[in-house]
Symmetry: C2
Subunit: 205 residues, 2 copies
DNA sequence: GTCTATAGAGCGATAGAC
DNA sequence: GTCTATCGCTCTATAGAC
């Protein structure tokens, strides 16, 4: 259904659909080039519109990225909720599954914590992005609490460990560091989940 | 002694010293802007030479970065050797200290595994960079072996976990994600070391 | 709402003077 | 070995036509 907006082969979007198409295609571009390599001009080229067209819908590059980041946070929250539910009743399994789901989701969609909490989007003080970011953190803190970390600052430290681990897998995979033993994106997610499980086990004792 | 080459306040380097000064200053620039934000023009500006001058010493941007990356790998190897020695006889402590030293070193120097094994430097097939990268991996595999992981492919997986964790701390710290509880760079290194210890503990059982 | 055209900036890299 | 000057490219963003 996203194809109805953006087109599988990047057909030019129907009139009035450019705003939505820009957001859809932004994820693909982020996934390929990362945040630093993201450009509005490239985005316009892919959608076969002029470089001026995007600026009818977003004040500037940052405003577009803020909308994308907010949507990324919402998506991520839903994906992790689902993964936690599917992982069964053990709260440690649920947390580990969340970390694995993070890796899978970000390697797929290209926008993770680095985009959602990006330094360069902070000055915007975008209300929707702030809301989405808080929603994500709330879910994570809740999962950590259920895993027995009732002290919030302890829970935060555990989450920090867990998501530094998961994010490291994404970053070093993108940098081709994991090429040694890498077979598929799914493979990386599996290894990240295993690592998360070990990390949680080590914190329990 | 590096100041003798680059100058504390970025004085223009003495004639014949530009090549060395370019390498020194590259670390500072990488540390501030990261690999994507690194530019030869900016480097020249900081050293108060023309934008053409660096190209007398390096064929292009990538050739310069390859030399920097090779030196970064050598430095990192030495730093980690030292940290492992200082950590005492327990091989698990030694590995954890290595991860912490990685975080400390990279947050200081700006060039970690992402630079050393960067995708964009791979096509160069630079012999010195390859040597330095192998040296780094050899040290790490050796430390993993001493920690009881005699199967090389098992050892590789453990190292992968450990350095994805450490690198995640660097990346998310750079993205300002750790701002919540962050006090100093040293603080981040300490937390990374704690996380590494937990991860190793979880792998032991 | 989209286009063409353009201003203005930064970068990589080269030519030729000194 | 360093300079000035310049080319060609990409990017962000705006003005004005349609």
């Amino acid at each position: 259904m996203t194809e109805a907006v953006a087109g599988a082969g990047n057909e030019r979007p129907a009139r009035g659909q450019l705003r939505a198409a820009l957001i859809v295609e932004s994820f693909a571009l982020l996934s390929e080039k990362g945040m630093a390599g993201f450009s509005v001009a490239e985005l316009a080229r892919r959608l076969k519109v002029s470089t001026a067209a995007p600026y009818r819908h977003f004040r500037n590059r940052e405003a577009l990225l803020a909308v994308v980041a907010a949507q990324a946070a919402d998506e991520l929250t839903r994906t992790m909720e689902t993964a936690a539910s599917a992982a069964g009743p053990d709260p440690v399994d649920r947390l580990a599954a969340t970390a694995g789901a993070y890796v899978r989701h970000v390697s797929d969609r290209g926008a993770g914590l680095d985009v959602i909490f990006a330094r360069e989007l902070r000055p915007l003080r975008d209300a929707d992005l702030a809301r989405a970011g808080r929603g994500l953190m709330t879910l994570l803190l809740d999962l950590a609490r259920q895993a027995g970390h009732r002290d919030p600052s302890r829970a935060l430290l555990l989450l920090e460990q867990l998501f530094c681990l998961a994010h490291g897998y994404i970053t070093l995979d993108a940098a081709d560091f994991l090429t040694f033993s890498r077979h598929s994106p799914e493979d990386v997610a599996t290894r990240a989940t295993d690592a998360a499980t070990a990390l949680l086990r080590g914190n329990a004792t």
